[in-house]
Amino acid sequence: MTEKISSANDAFKSPAKRTAGSVGAPRGLGSRTEKQGQRMLGAEAVVASLEAEGVDTVFGYPGGQAIKIYDALYDSHQLNHVLARHEQGAVHMADGYARSTGKPGVAIVTSGPGATNTVTGIATAYMDSVPMVVITGQVPRAVIGTDSFQESDIVGITMPVVKHSFLLQSTDELTTTFREAFHIATTGRPGPVLIDIPSDLAGSEMVFEYPDEVNIPSYKPTYRGNAKQIRAACRLIEEAERPVLYVGGGCVISDASEEVVRLANLMRIPVVTTLMGKGAFPKSDPLNLGPVGMHGAKYSNLAMTEADLIIAAGARFSDRVTGKLDRFAPNAKVIHIDIDPAEIGKIREAQVPIVGDLKGVLQGLISQLEKDDAHPNTQTWLAEIDQWRDRFPIYHPGLKDAEDEIVPERVMMELSRQLDPASSIVVTEVGQHQMWAHQFIDREKPRTFLSSGGLGTMGFGFPAAVGAAIANPGAQVVCIAGDGSFQMNSQEMATAAINGVPVKVLIMDNRCLGMVHQWQKLFYDERYSQTLLEPNPDFVKLADAYGWEGKRIMHPDEVEGAIAEMLASEKPYLLDVAISREQNVYPMVAPGSALDDIMGAIDVAVGAVRTDMPASAVPQTSPCATIDAQFGGRWEAQPGDTGERMSAEEFQAEKEGAR
């Protein structure tokens, strides 16, 4: 890893300030590169275009129709190419690079299977609005449409999951296509853009003329919020007695954290964050109510339900947040701020819609509120929320967990305690561990928590962590994975080892597909169809095979030391943490239920126990049903506990007798 990459790191530390004029302009030299005006092959122009855009790192995998581009890449001093072990891994790496820096991620792959392997990665980036440019090799123009070897219509295949795509038709269009691709990927609501390059064009001679400007008459995203709407929003905020600031991924993309903090504190508005918005509002701020939605804290969900005003800032009312829609925040008016007009009114009607770049809109709101000399009106509301917070904590140390079992929540809290919440980057896979991480990993800064929110792509997290680590050398990058997710792209362990990327992987290993298993336990009568992964491979041996360090722990006493050892390691490190497969993520709003219909939240009013457990969460056959219900079904989890069980009545009788 050389200087090229440390420049990426500098960008991470001080994200480039965007001005209206600079939005979407090349980050690199553009037309001022030394290659401007030179004769070269199309493939060389591809590399020169990437250089002109200021790209420092590309992820990819070569192949027959990309070979000319790879040949040109061989001579580039600016581009550091990271060879993945699978095209999907390469695209997720580019995604992790983009999410952690805000710069567009770039991936290069070949035609046919190389191109089709990128589809999941592109769809993941599309759903989470990640700026990305994917370059695919294509068979020569003359044989397109003849089912030639390694031909696939990748522009057609990816049409529903790209922001835009290009099939290059001539070398005359090459440089404008790249400029437009980077412009489209990074402006407005960002997203992946695909450029399909027939290999005969890569081999044709052309003159490299890179444009600095783009002219796409049909694409003019709205950045400035409407001033009248901003005033209308201020009136609602000033009148509101029970407002909630609902912060989504748009706050991260728009670099609006500072403004969110100022607005929340100016008007004393409690803040809930979505999975994508995590980190945009610091955990240390007492106004932060944390995650909201299906696995959000009960107090956050109650706050949403009881609110009289929801300020949706770069959030899109996803079904994982709203629960049953007709019972979602029934008394709330909505101010919806989004750069994408299609999001406004899509799910929930907005009384005040504001289309624009969040950062600027929030600045407008703040200065208007200051001008109006507005005062917060939320003391009673905050006091009520604080009561909920005290009564329904998201975790309680008094929860009776099996003493010899590792409890996932405690692993997350310990990891969070040992990480710097502002500089470390936590990446997750998808499943139970993702929700535990969302609940218990504290974050102070945006772009430090990366997770596949919209598409929910298992196999995203680990390669994305490698990409983030390459983009941010020196940063502590930890991937929290499940044993199922990790096995979807574990081949990228080679990429991390060979490139000397000291990424850390913590596997919450329950030897099953935990989230589906949880649903089967709760809603499918414990019919665990195809969710048991046992026997898993020996992950420590796997780590060893790839030249990683690794360790497996099975006892709670080992957690603190093992995490410390992992974080201290200078090599890539895999920590395999054995947890019970009976552990469920709580609290939980069952799919299709209302947001305040919460199961498994802790209610300290009745003791440190989980309440409102679903009937089927507990085996009906168990004579210990009531006790199991109290302990979240965890007694059932003790593998050694196969002995006779007492009925609830017997238990009650014995308890009374003991008195």
């Binding site: 057609g156 049909s218 299609a342």
Partner: protein
Amino acid sequence: MKHVLSVLVENKPGVLSRVTGLVSRRGFNIESLSVGPVEDPTMSRVTAVVDADDVAYEQITKQLHKLISVHKITDLTDDGAIERELVLFKVNASPERRNEIIEISNIFRGKIVDVGRNSLTIEATGDASKLQGLEDLFRAYGIKEIVRTGKIAMSRNAKD
């Protein structure tokens, strides 16, 4: 309700597929579709009829606007726009009944474009209700085949 959408797009390969793909992906059926170049050869116009309620229709148009290839969308549903379709009818016509059919066709300003031993082919243009009326009358004679274009539409007075 039915909405007539007039979408101005860039005239490039694959654009029609982007537009129709998006509409069907969001769960709507396109009832009628016609595409052709406009006065500016770099542009094409897609006229599509979709059945959607107002909320869904708004979502479709917003999503269509997001396509980079889409320049402008006009809703020609409510403003009394000029709507036309073209239909070719091949109607059973024994020599003794030809005149009746030709008369009907003339009333509707149809054109006889082909005469067979036992059939007549009539070309007719108009809005949907006129063409439906013609079709109903021809049914009495027996229709061998109908081919119709998608609907095209234009606003009555230039707004800009």
